[in-house]
Symmetry: C2
Subunit: 100 residues, 2 copies
């Protein structure tokens, strides 16, 4: 049975490929794919964004190689950014409650 961390890595790959468009060069998220992924998988985060152009701005930030598409490596950097932000909140909460 896979561990929690292995399951998490599998989820990252599964979620990305569920939304990614396939073409000759492999699987990537175009703007529409990314919007759908974020609306379905990161709806809480998206709701917290007041800016209606949030997805477009995130797309621009993630698309490190500037090809108008987000590959798996670029997608993972979004998950990392959100996880790091969540973890900082978690540490602050634990400090406040004296558990850290």
């Amino acid at each position: 049975m896979p561990s929690e961390l292995e399951t998490c890595m599998e989820s990252l790959i599964k979620v990305f490929h569920h939304y990614a468009s396939k073409d000759g060069s492999g699987a990537t998220l175009n703007r529409r794919d990314l919007r759908l992924l974020m609306e379905n998988e990161l709806s809480n985060f998206l709701k917290s964004q007041k800016d209606p152009a949030a997805v477009d701005k995130i797309m621009k930030d993630l698309d490190a190689n500037g090809d108008g598409r987000v590959n798996f490596e670029e997608f993972v950097s979004l998950v990392v950014g959100l996880s790091v932000a969540c973890e900082q909140c978690y540490q602050q909460h634990m400090k406040k409650t004296g558990k850290c």
Copy 2:
């Protein structure tokens, strides 16, 4: 109910804090914590490493700020590296089987 991606982000934080040592500066993994985490959570990957000093080398690679400890951000970079490697295998497999 959290989405698969939200659950994954929660798992990253949960697993890290399960193994991390707590001190005044927050939660970090020392060499012993990292070894335990990898033995329990990434045992398949660890088994594939022939080098008995693999954990030590990974510790050195991850410890970007050189303080002898791995913080959450440094830990996530390990998960990212492994996920990206797994995803490349997955894409190659899909191309071979004509699904990508």
